[in-house]
Amino acid sequence: MKRSLEQFNKAFENRIRLQIMSVLVANENYDFNSLKELLEVTDGNLASHLKALEKEEYILVYKTFIGRKPNTQYTVSEKGRSAFIKHLEALENLIKQQKKQ
């Protein structure tokens, strides 16, 4: 029980961060505005969580322009993908352990 809790990733404690990772793992890339719409969060909120994930090197940021509008694309890094999978495994293990008890 204790070991499995240690596997939980602090970066994913926040629900929105976990949701961002879910979207990026399932897609080649996703842009800021579409993420905002999908997750129904505010600009500032999303930006701060993206920043945190970027700091952990879980996501990569590509800034481009479409005409004059900035268009920021995010993709998941290898490090981020394996951290996400580990986190899911930890969640599943927790369920299994609780069933045994």
Partner: protein, 206 residues
């Protein structure tokens, strides 16, 4: 963390992964409508050819009679246009009903993955028409449409893939038996669309 919480967390992750990577507002009803348009179009086309030649054989004589040729071309384009419009309108309506934005990264990917085989097929068919190779037109319609469905199925309900395989099979058969090309076309674009659309409607949209 409670077990219930973990379950809901995992469920929300799964739903988000699916919603973000697949366009699930594709309307089954638009499949049924496309099938009906195709049947009506084929019926009108059949009558035009039947009146002129007394029998339905795909032959070079179409090109002799440019009126018939143009009428058939007009009917085919009208069916295509109506089907695409219906599909767009009904899917947009469906997305709005769910409170989703229909113009998102997934719907863009869906459209571009469909467009490449469709445009290639369209150009190929125009080339066939210009070279007066009418035998293979029905077959080419079915094969390229099937390919575009299979490539689109990555970004929407995966069931679409099976409709694609059926269309390709019919297209190959139509190439093998070009005399019956129109019947394969009617079966693929008409009946299969109606069956498939009805199945999808009852499975997902209700």
């Amino acid at each position: 963390m409670e077990e219930k919480d973990i379950h809901s967390e995992l469920a929300s992750i799964r739903s988000l992964m699916e919603r973000s990577s697949r366009f699930l507002s594709l309307s089954g009803l638009s499949g049924v409508m496309a099938g009906i348009y195709a049947l009506i179009g084929a019926f009108i086309g059949y009558n035009i050819v039947n009146e002129k030649y007394g029998s339905l054989t795909i032959s070079d004589s179409y090109s002799d009679n440019s009126l018939v040729y143009h009428q058939l071309l007009l009917i085919a384009s009208a069916i295509l246009l109506l089907s695409v419009l219906t599909c767009l309108l009904l899917s947009i309506r469906q997305a709005k009903k769910k409170g989703e934005n229909y113009w998102n990264p997934v719907s863009k990917r869906l459209i571009s993955s469909m467009a490449i085989p469709l445009f290639t097929g369209g150009l190929f068919i125009i080339i066939l028409l210009l070279k007066a190779e009418y035998n293979l037109v029905a077959s080419a319609c079915l094969i390229f449409y099937g390919l575009s469905l299979i490539s689109a199925s990555q970004y929407t309900f995966s069931d679409v893939k099976w409709l694609g395989f059926c269309q390709i099979t019919l297209g190959l058969l139509a190439a093998l038996i070009p005399e019956s090309g129109l019947w394969f076309w009617v079966f693929g674009f008409g009946l299969l669309h109606i069956i498939y659309g009805a199945l999808m409607h009852f499975k997902y949209n209700r």
